[in-house]
């Protein structure tokens, strides 16, 4: 691995990256930053939903990585460890940030009658995820709907279903029980289903 290469194609493996960071090698460190900054910013943007806060979270995360690289225990890939750090920095930042408008979760949960029977409109058309995902700007439109979920629910859906953390990891990060994570995840999914209904019914949103 050439330490002086600035090519984006050049990739440091974990060993080279750790050695470079521990030695304080500026060239390797910059290569390392360039290699990881893109996905870290993408993760942070999904969690905090604000460009400036996402950048702050990434910058804070890199500081933590530089500071704590010596204690990285290699029980996971370096990227996995860094993913947890950036998510954690996002969560810390979000405690200070007021977010834009959301829809109360109760308005989006399933409805049952007095007999416990579900009230659900009949579906004339149901699109498939495969056909929907081919539509242009679909990711953006889905992300906009996810944004409408209250943070307590949105964060759990983002961490579990998009960032693919385990229930246990989410419970630890948010300092809540695993049972609570599951309840909120299900409600978040149910609420999102309601928000995406027009799209899935082929009506557009």
């Amino acid at each position: 691995m050439e330490a002086d290469s600035r090519s984006q194609a050049a990739k440091l493996d974990d060993d080279d990256a750790i050695a470079g960071l521990m030695a304080g090698d500026a060239g390797l460190t910059e290569l390392f930053v360039r290699q990881h900054i893109g996905w870290m910013l993408a993760v942070a943007s999904r969690v905090v939903r604000d460009v400036h806060h996402a950048e702050d979270a990434v910058q804070n995360a890199f500081s933590k990585v530089f500071k704590n690289i010596g204690s990285f225990n290699r029980q996971s890939a370096l990227k996995t460890w860094m993913h947890r750090i950036v998510v954690n920095e996002c969560l810390m930042l979000m405690r200070k940030v007021e977010r834009a408008e959301t829809v109360p979760i109760d308005d989006l949960l399933p409805v049952f009658d007095g007999n416990g029977c579900r009230i659900e409109d009949a579906w004339a058309i149901m699109e498939t995820p495969e056909s929907l995902i081919l539509k242009s700007d679909i990711r953006e439109r889905v992300s906009e709907k996810i944004d409408l979920l209250p943070d307590n629910y949105r964060i759990i859906l983002v961490l579990r279903d998009i960032e693919e953390l385990t229930t246990q990891e989410v419970a630890e990060l948010l300092d809540i029980s695993e049972a609570n994570v599951k309840v909120r995840l299900h409600r978040a999914r149910a609420a999102l289903k309601r928000l995406l209904e027009p799209l899935v019914r082929g009506q557009g949103i």
Partner: protein, 101 residues
């Protein structure tokens, strides 16, 4: 689009779901997450799937729930047609500068 079931049919459904091995839609709702994560035992799974066979509302609800979940998952993945994002030079510089402090 709305096609709410006639009241009598709903009452019959409500009574049927009280029979042995039957659950109401509300109970069904509580099992969805565990079902999708394959955490139900054999008996629970049987009961869940039995309800699914008998209940049009829950069948359609679950189908839409799965589609919505899949869309959420896909929304976080990069669009294969999108151009690769450029490295944010300002942020790289800021990260490197902070390191030098």
């Amino acid at each position: 689009m709305t096609e709410t079931k006639p009241r009598l049919m709903r009452r019959i459904h409500g009574m049927m779901f009280k029979l042995p091995l039957m659950i109401t839609c509300e109970d069904f709702e509580d099992f969805i997450l565990a079902y999708l994560e394959d955490e139900l035992n054999a008996r629970q799974k049987f009961v869940f799937e039995m309800h699914l066979k008998l209940c049009r509302e829950c069948r359609e609800y679950l189908a839409a729930y799965r589609i919505s979940l899949e869309l959420a998952k896909q929304s976080g993945k990069a669009d294969p047609d999108a151009l690769p994002a450029e490295v944010p030079e300002d942020l790289v510089a800021a990260v490197m500068a902070a390191r030098d402090c």
